[in-house]
Symmetry: C2
Subunit: 723 residues, 2 copies
């Protein structure tokens, strides 16, 4: 007996789909293509029947096994008509199995694989089922023997149950003549219908080239992740209005922008659907405050609830199905009118009244990379250009077909592109230089018009623009004034027309270069160094996960001593590179280290300063990641990033060359003298803790070294701060 | 009238050959190949008749013009027989012209181009000669008008003289039947005869592929530059024995290893040819001291004479022809027996009793890159492996066909290879890792033999080797002992045989990575940073010329503020990157900044420490270069590098992580408080001085900034030193 397997995935960082194509036969199998005529199809996730056509390619008379909580009656009620029709017309043998329930009963939690495997062997008859059971049980001993008899017993029970619990569904003749419901007529853009949805259904291969007419340069529309409504969370937060202190911290930290403070006026509240509770907004007279949650967009990490500082938690995690009804309130919340920000935009609370221009990405639940990026878009998104290095941020930033970067109520949002991993800083510099050329040209034209006989009104607007053309804050307003003045002018002057034609370049752009530590410390470092040295006004944000996350956790120069990573299986021997210190050696580069969970104010301050500094800026953000193996779970990634600072593992600082020009010390150490237990912090993460299991002797010395390294680094910062 | 020109060069940095292939015609010329049937050949350098076959391809009845100081009688006497025969047999019209004398008389110094041009037009008849003269004179006004009437007049005189002074040589019939002298029978290796000489005669294109059988991997023999004997200096040093204080500083600084202290015993002195003067060697009882000079290998820079510290200079620059007779003494000097170094090898004086294993390269006269590299080979050359970045050092290090790297009396010398510009650090790390694998394997075998029943003698040698296998100094001696012990053992043990077969790896190799600042600060920096961070035992030497020298002086991140360079035509705006500081941020990288002319002792100390440090080392050497435009000339490059330190433009320091482990401050600032005048230093170099001519207003601010940058840098070093 020979077997062959191909495995086919999407690129979501979590909650994605895998399709396993398996062939069996008596001769070696060398088919270099996926299966398109199957004898057997199993669907391990009930919700997929709504999203994918899993039956496609199943042969006439083939078998279909669905893992579902539905009883046969409920199958009749819930199974989509297209499935019923296909099953009946093609004479499919249809079986169900409640593997989720079985696994829970046995004590296997969410692990349904053994159950589904034995059911597969029972139904498919690839080999005699008794042989299959024997082999499976032998394999259990090999795989789990070390974990003790209890685990072995549970898996054996799963195998038996899988075989026993299959339910055959009798297919009524009526299914053959069923009429498919017309698709819901909610307003969905053409691009979503024609491209996003087919691709998300794993049918992208079938799209004709003509579907992409008009987007030959590869540009995809923004804001399309909002149509995915993945609904992959187990639990999602429920807002307890009365306990809420309106600090907006939950919204600040949410990686997926699935929780947002909404300001509504009385009329809007009155017109709202059920579930849109609201109370008086503090600091915004006449407005009501509602914390909107999107159950279908939330990834259920729990960070919002975890960090909620209200005396009694104002967010409680509840099972997804209990919260689905809040979707209507969410949808409504997104339609309430735009309100001026009642708080300071550059504050933790105020930033959250700005629309996040990164939302619902495919990053892991609790990922801090997206938390940072989301906040950056809230501060500068409407005039941002992003050059993105390859890495997690290029995957959650744009995993085709859906784009999580989006636009605000005026249609402004970040432009975004991904370059080669190794060239991203240069790519971002190129964007800056290209825009600079156009704006310099614009400035020349403006000067010419100022020298001519335009109206006083237009001249005032142009002069104001010219005087502040490279100042980011207020740039949008100054540009608006120029545009309005030109429109009022009704002139046919060619120069004025030229300014108008280039009005998109009136606004000072905010140039950002995003990437991970593999990019910035290693493979792209040569370019990053060159770009920082150039002195040009670009901003770099490094998502420092201390490993190459996207490819599964390889060691980078950002990996500290003792951490286990790929290529450093026995713990890294050399210390973490001090990227910030190296950048500071230029003296004219703004540099900051931040950690969202440790100090959100410092993060906002650093971002504001970095962006305002008229030279290169580098902000390095500590980013807990699934590769760290947080024992407390990714639902505490915010807390973990606080612990890292509390124990002296990570330091917060800002180095602002502008201060030097004022005769001040440019270096400010923001983190306090460590109080937390360094070793305890390490032991809370599998990447460190497992070293003492695997290499008990070497571990001790490496742990000591990594603590010493951190202390030395901190001592160096203190010296800088004391100057 | 149409014209076409191709220009064909060798890759020597100075004193090389250029062949101009010119075509003229009444229709457009589109010949994409060099001329191989010429109507006219001119040879502008008399010495070429000995080196090249310049007549090759001259048509029957064609014209040959030779620029020569020879009278017709002297032509008869000196012209090589092959030339005479060719001229006679092919009915060549032969003319001479003493352009050198004319140029000197007119006041044009060495500039003979106008004279040769007008002579060309006179003889070639490409256009009527009167027209040609008129055009040439018009061109003189255009080109030199700005320089004043005197210059115009001199050039016009040159044009007239060129036409007037041609001498027609009557070719005697006897030349046709002349017999070519047999080639001198000095012992010349096959490789030189078959490959180097033809290639140096610009006849490499004609070599058959079969000439390279046995060197298919591209490896070329070492030490072949010694056969070039280029004789391109105008003046060369003459040693004044009585005034010499035997400090060896002249030999230390010579970029071309053309001056060397020789220790000879009485018998050797007695047997020496004339010109081999010798006096009692100080510090080496029973030996005599001679300072040998090779007039044909010297490039005549004058640094040796300039830095000679004897009360009355013991070296005086004299015209080359007066010194040619010293060649015999030089040749003899190289044959005297090897003497144990009577002084400390790691001292300025002692290092010069070691054979330079880099000699007679094609670098510019006075180039400091080669001065550094030569000293490195004297300290570690017999066990060195060099990975060389593209740049001047890859050109003077190996411009085919001649190789200046060579071997010592035992046949040991550096191995050398050039990689891609951007990958050189990685290339050098690869060499290290490859050797490390082999030596680790060797150590395992040695341990096995130590556990067996080898003789006490062999075991003692092996144990000593094992205990010190990674210690460079004494490694050769320990390896020799192991080899002798194995040879004495006469065993047929397979393990012992394995050690013997790998005896080349017994010696600890000294791994070096060479390159310029364009490589190390810019294009190769990402890799360099990665290699330094690796913690492995490799040594990097950066030849910091502060520009991309080899390609004509482009700005790099090593270029300081205000310097004019390509891509920084109005003076560089950003400050010099502090490469050393960035490397120091790792804490485990040895870093030094050196400047040969400022402190030779500090240089030797830094090299010794860097090589001995069992981790990565980075030594950055300040390197005056023709691209700086030294107003004092490249004959004072050593002095210039001293001035750079004296005025605080360049700092000398050593950062030795080994000291940290001893609880000491790892950073030692070796340069003293600056006393020289910073601005005066800048004004001594065209790269700075010309800024004040071209951009007088901007210059002042930039000069102030570059001085401030240097002061800040120095202040930072002082702080480090004060810890
Ligand atoms: C030159 C190059 N090498 C390797 C890869 C494969 N690759 C893609 S993403 C990635 C990891 C990125 O790691 P990091 O920069 O730390 O970002 P993170 O995923 O942690 O956000 C790698 C190695 C690549 N795309 N290009
Ligand atoms: C990637 C790459 N870019 C450009 C070149 C062309 N190139 C050859 S040598 C050189 C200059 C080297 O300058 P530097 O490293 O400062 O060494 P120097 O010549 O000053 O010793 C350049 C640009 C190249 N070989 N490879
Ligand atoms: S649980 Fe996580 S993803 Fe969901 S709203 Fe809270 S922070 Fe956002
Ligand atoms: S950085 Fe880590 S947590 Fe975030 S998406 Fe990548 S793998 Fe997931
Ligand atoms: S003149 Fe220059 S090249 Fe010649 S021996 Fe002296 S230092 Fe060397
Ligand atoms: S570094 Fe400068 S002086 Fe030396 S060979 Fe190159 S161009 Fe000539």
């Amino acid at each position: 007996m020979y077997a062959q397997g191909y495995f086919f995935y999407d690129s979501k960082k979590s909650g994605g789909i895998t399709v396993s194509h398996l062939r069996f036969g008596k001769t070696p199998i060398k088919s270099p293509y996926l299966i398109n005529k199957a004898d057997f199809v199993a669907c391990h996730n009930q919700s997929y029947v709504y999203k994918y056509n899993v039956l496609e390619g199943l042969k006439k008379g083939g078998k279909f096994l669905l893992n579902t909580i539905w009883t046969p009656e409920e199958v009749e009620e819930h199974l989509p008509a297209s499935y019923k029709k296909f099953i009946a017309e093609n004479n499919i043998e249809f079986y169900t199995l409640n593997a989720v329930k079985i696994a829970q009963e046995i004590g296997l939690g969410g692990r349904i694989n053994m159950i589904m495997q034995s059911a597969f062997f029972k139904l498919s008859n690839v080999i005699p089922v008794d042989d299959a059971i024997k082999y499976l049980k032998d394999a259990v001993v090999t795989s789990y023997g070390k974990k003790g008899q209890k685990v072995v017993d549970m898996n054996n029970a799963a195998i038996d149950k899988g075989v026993e619990s299959i339910v055959k569904i009798e297919v009524p003749a009526s299914w053959a003549s069923i009429v498919e419901e017309a698709a819901a007529t909610t307003e969905i853009p053409e691009f979503i219908k024609k491209i996003v949805n087919p691709m998300n259904r794993q049918e992208g291969d079938k799209l004709p080239v003509s579907a992409f007419v008009g987007m030959e340069d590869g540009t995809f529309p923004q804001g399309t992740a909002a149509y995915e409504k993945r609904g992959v969370a187990i639990n999602v937060p429920e807002w307890q209005m009365d306990k809420c202190i309106q600090c907006n911290q939950c919204a600040f930290v949410c990686p997926h922008a699935a929780i947002r403070p909404i300001l509504a006026n009385e009329a809007e509240v009155a017109a709202a659907p059920a579930g849109f509770e609201a109370k008086d907004a503090s600091g915004a007279k006449g407005l009501k405050f509602h914390m909107a949650v999107s159950p279908l967009d939330c990834l259920g990490c729990g960070n919002c609830a975890d960090i909620c500082p209200a005396k009694e938690k104002a967010l409680v995690m509840k099972p997804l199905d209990t919260q689905l009804e809040k979707s209507a309130a969410w949808d409504y919340a997104l339609t309430v009118s735009h309100k001026e920000n009642p708080a300071k935009k550059f504050s933790v609370k105020g930033s959250q009244f700005e629309k996040p221009l990164l939302e619902f990405s495919g990053s892991c639940a609790g990922c801090m990379e997206t938390s940072y990026a989301k906040v950056v878009t809230q501060l500068f998104g409407d005039r941002m250009m992003i050059a993105n290095a390859t890495g997690c941020s290029s995957i959650w930033g744009a995993s085709a077909p859906a784009t999580p970067y989006t636009t605000n109520h005026r249609g402004h949002g970040p432009s975004w592109a991904n370059s080669l991993f190794e060239d991203n800083a240069q790519f971002g510099l190129g964007m800056f230089l290209g825009v600079e050329q156009l704006r310099d040209k614009l400035a020349m034209t403006v000067k010419e018009v100022l020298g001519g006989n335009a109206s006083a009104n237009l001249k005032a607007a142009l002069q104001d623009w010219l005087d502040n053309m490279n100042v980011g804050e207020g740039s949008r307003e100054r540009a608006d004034k120029v545009i309005a003045a030109i429109e009022a002018e009704k002139t046919d002057c060619g120069l004025v027309k030229e300014i108008y034609d280039n009005k998109d370049f009136l606004v000072k752009r905010s140039h950002w270069i995003f990437g991970g530590d593999g990019w910035s410390y290693d493979i792209g470092y040569g370019g990053l160094d060159h770009v920082l040295a150039s002195g040009e006004d670009v901003n770099v944000f490094v998502f420092d996960t201390e490993v190459y996350s996207n490819t599964g956790g390889q060691s980078s120069k950002a990996t500290p001593t003792a951490a286990i990573a790929k290529f450093a299986a026995s713990g890294k021997k050399t210390k973490k590179k001090d990227l910030g210190m190296m950048a500071m050696s230029y003296g004219y580069v703004y540099v900051a280290q931040v950690s969202m969970g440790a100090d959100k104010n410092q993060l906002v301050k650093a971002l504001a300063e970095a962006e305002a500094y008229p030279g290169p800026s580098l902000v390095i953000g500590y980013s807990p990641c699934i590769n760290h193996g947080l024992k407390a779970s990714m639902g505490k990634s915010q807390l973990e990033s606080k612990k890292a600072v509390d124990c002296g593992y990570w330091a917060l600082y800002r180095y602002n060359p502008a201060l030097k020009e004022e005769g001040k010390n440019p270096f400010v150490l923001d983190s306090k003298e460590p109080t937390g237990d360094f070793r305890e912090f390490l032991m809370g993460e599998v990447r460190y803790a497992s070293l003492s299991k695997q290499f008990p002797e070497a571990a001790e010395a490496l742990f000591e070294k990594t603590e010493r390294d951190a202390k030395e680094r901190l001592a160096g910062y203190k010296e800088l701060a004391a100057k």
